[in-house]
């Protein structure tokens, strides 16, 4: 697959391209991160996320900058950077697309989705399309098994996927169409996402719903059947508060349409017997 691809994983990693984007601002932000912890070195993982947000990968210059700020050697920082799967030595595309192929998602269709995307994008695992838009990677369990098969874009969830909906998703990303996670925000770039992971919020926490259908499956059933936890010492505050402040029976019955921006994964998944309602 994609044997002659420019960023194929058998091509040597450029040690340094000599055009590092790390500036005094980056260094100042690294110091800010280190100051958040009782011991500065604890900020190393966030600092490496910051390096990726600036450089698009972990560069030698980024490693040296971390080392300088923390008083470590480059080798000590490299040892850490190479341990963690999210740190990339090769340039990552504008969008990182992850396909869960751990057992449950694989069985539910993740393997077929991954195969489809590899051939559709003409890349192998952990490789980037020629246009630099998409890096495809098979990922391990991402804690969304009740929405299997799961795909992520820049670590935002895309639920109940099919080969068709996954190819549509990557096509939309490549064409620059606005894409929203059904349980998250409008998709930003991978670098912007890395900046949030570094610890610099982007103010988009209020986008998206509280949860998807599966997250609310048990609660919805409990509401329908009037099942509650027993009353406690504080009185029936839970049930009473819920009854008062829930806006309507419809709201209690599940996520509202306004809570579900973006693509309805169900729409491309009409044959799925689980979507009976």
């Amino acid at each position: 697959m994609a044997n002659d691809h420019a960023t194929a994983t058998n091509v040597p990693v450029p040690y340094s391209t000599g055009d590092s984007a790390i500036t005094e601002t980056t260094i100042a932000e690294m110091r800010e991160l280190a100051a958040r912890y009782p011991v500065g070195r604890s900020a190393l993982l966030p600092m490496l996320h910051l390096v990726q947000s600036v450089e698009g990968r972990v560069t030698p210059e980024g490693i040296e900058a971390c080392a300088d700020v923390l008083g470590l050697t480059g080798a000590e920082v490299s040892a850490v950077a190479t341990f963690y799967t999210m740190y990339k030595r090769r340039p990552v595309g504008e969008y990182h697309v992850g396909v869960c192929t751990n057992t449950l998602c694989a069985v539910m269709g993740g393997d077929l989705i991954f195969e489809r995307l590899k051939s559709h994008l003409d890349v192998g695992n952990d490789e980037t399309t020629e246009d630099g838009k998409i890096t495809l990677e098979h990922i391990e369990c991402n804690a969304a098994c009740d929405y299997a098969p799961v795909v992520t874009v820049n670590w935002e969830f895309f639920d109940d996927m099919t080969p068709q909906s996954a190819t549509q998703l990557v096509d939309d990303l490549r064409e620059g169409t606005e894409v929203k996670s059904p349980r998250g925000a409008t998709i930003c770039s991978w670098r912007e996402a890395e900046r949030v992971l570094a610890g610099f919020p982007d103010g988009r926490a209020d986008e998206g719903p509280t949860g998807g259908k599966a997250s609310l499956a048990g609660l919805r059933l409990a509401r329908e059947r009037n099942w509650t936890a027993p009353n406690g010492a504080a009185g029936s505050s839970n049930a009473a508060a819920a009854a008062e402040s829930t806006v309507s029976p419809e709201a209690a019955a599940g996520p509202r349409p306004s809570d579900q921006p973006g693509k309805e994964s169900q729409a491309v998944n009409g044959n799925d017997s689980r979507k009976e309602d």
Partner: protein, 433 residues
């Protein structure tokens, strides 16, 4: 049947915001706790019978009481939000929908053990959850619930949201500590236990998200209220996560001790036209169970009595279209990838397990390979610093125990006899192997 407590506000408008959380009584428990002596908070959690929801089931209050209060070093609370055990998907929706439930629990728990800094170590691969946690902590700071002289009590606390970088091993508590110190996430030898020498060598409590999130409800409603739910030794309500071949997968919050038969019934049954083949009670590291275990109470003792573990209550349901050898091979590849490399039996053993299982799945194995596999498993289990390797062997030995014939069928068939399309959610209705 279901007892929503942790999930009770998940259908509220903007449940993740402070104002919404407070409308449903949020942070009332914090006021109650701060009016108590820290030791009394520990006692309340002890009396409730709450046991760790991250898998091991260790009594939470007892863990807190191990913190040596005469030790002059700072104390730390670390929340393990690295949810990565295959099949486990309860903490992520909790933090997405109601991060303040966790944050309030963090403040109360930190007060109980007299920690001045708490960390929420959340896996890096969940961007929007991290956004919501960051915002919740900031809102709590702005409201005076985090910071100096909290609510005028003189208690000071800082809370840091820390994103990981993709390593299953960091869910292991001592590896998590090394990672939080800015190192490779590799487990530490115990003793000393973290309660004595944890983060930066200081007394540290590490608890799962769901454990800490359960604390506000216990303080608010009382230890007796909590222990009125559940079974004799497994108290309270908990989040059961159903995934796979069920009609309505999702989160089901119920008292400890509910059975899989009841849960599958609530979830609308196994997907139409199919039947249960095997399941995990608490993630892939817990030995597989089958339809004969449908009525086992899902509490620590019940699942233990049939040779498995309750684990994270991650109930992955597989029907008869699923090849057990393929499933186990994939999990084993995962453990191989995630082995941190520190201990030889795990680093080398998982490598060999994958090679043999690959051969078996492709129909090129022999019955002797099964014996070799079991022998390898025996030599790997219990011989490493942490439980990752033990988890790696659990699906292998349990699947051979329950499905030896299916392994043999691979030899006879000269490959996998299953159609991978048949097990997918987009298989046409009625499709079969």
């Amino acid at each position: 049947m279901l007892t929503p407590v942790l999930s009770d506000n998940w259908d509220q408008i903007n449940a993740w915001q402070l104002s919404s959380y407070q409308r449903t009584g949020g942070y009332d428990a914090l006021r109650t706790a701060l009016a108590m002596q820290p030791a009394d908070v520990v006692t309340a959690v002890k009396d409730s019978g709450l046991r760790g929801r991250g898998g091991a089931g260790f009594p939470t209050g007892m863990k807190w009481s191990f913190i040596p209060q005469d030790n002059p070093k700072p104390k730390y609370l670390v929340v393990n939000a690295d949810e990565s055990e295959p099949g486990t998907c309860k903490d992520i929706p909790l933090m997405m929908a109601s991060p303040h439930t966790l944050v309030e629990g963090v403040i109360i728990s930190s007060y109980a053990i007299r920690a001045s800094v708490a960390f929420i170590y959340v896996r890096g691969e969940v961007l929007h959850v991290i956004r919501r946690l960051q915002q919740a902590v900031q809102e709590a700071k702005d409201a005076g619930f985090i910071g100096t002289n909290i609510l005028g009590t003189g208690y000071d606390l800082d809370v840091v949201v820390h994103a990981g970088a993709g390593a299953y091993i960091c869910g292991e508590e001592t590896a998590l500590l090394d990672s939080l110190e800015g190192r490779r996430g590799q487990p530490r030898l115990r003793p000393p236990f973290p309660a004595v020498a944890g983060l930066y060598g200081c007394p540290t409590v590490i608890n799962n998200v769901e454990s800490i999130a359960s604390v506000p409800a216990i303080i608010k409603n009382g230890a007796d209220w909590f222990s009125s739910m559940g079974t004799e030794k497994s108290k309270g309500m908990t989040l059961y996560s159903l995934s796979g071949h069920v009609t309505r997968p999702g989160q089901y919050e119920a008292p400890m001790g509910i059975t899989l038969r009841q849960l599958i019934d609530l979830a609308g049954g196994v997907r139409e036209g199919h039947e249960l083949k095997f399941w995990t009670p608490g993630g892939s590291s817990t030995p597989l169970l089958t339809a004969e275990h449908l009525d086992v109470p899902l509490d620590y003792e019940g699942v233990g009595s049939v040779g498995s573990m309750l684990g994270t209550k991650a109930l992955q349901i597989f029907d008869e279209t699923t090849c057990v050898v393929r499933a186990v091979l994939r999990w084993t590849e995962f453990y191989k990838h995630e082995s941190c490399g520190k201990c030889t039996p795990c680093r080398e053993g998982t490598w060999w397990l994958v090679q043999i299982l690959e051969r078996l799945e492709h129909g090129k194995g022999t019955e002797a390979d099964l014996a070799t596999l079991l022998d390898l498993c025996e030599n790997i289990t219990g011989r490493s610093f942490c439980a990752l390797a033990d988890g790696a062997t659990a699906p292998i030995s349990s699947s051979i125990q329950h499905f030896k014939d299916e392994y043999l069928a691979h030899f006879e068939h000269g490959g996998c006899p299953f159609d991978p399309m048949a097990s997918t959610v987009f298989a046409t209705a009625g499709a079969s192997a």
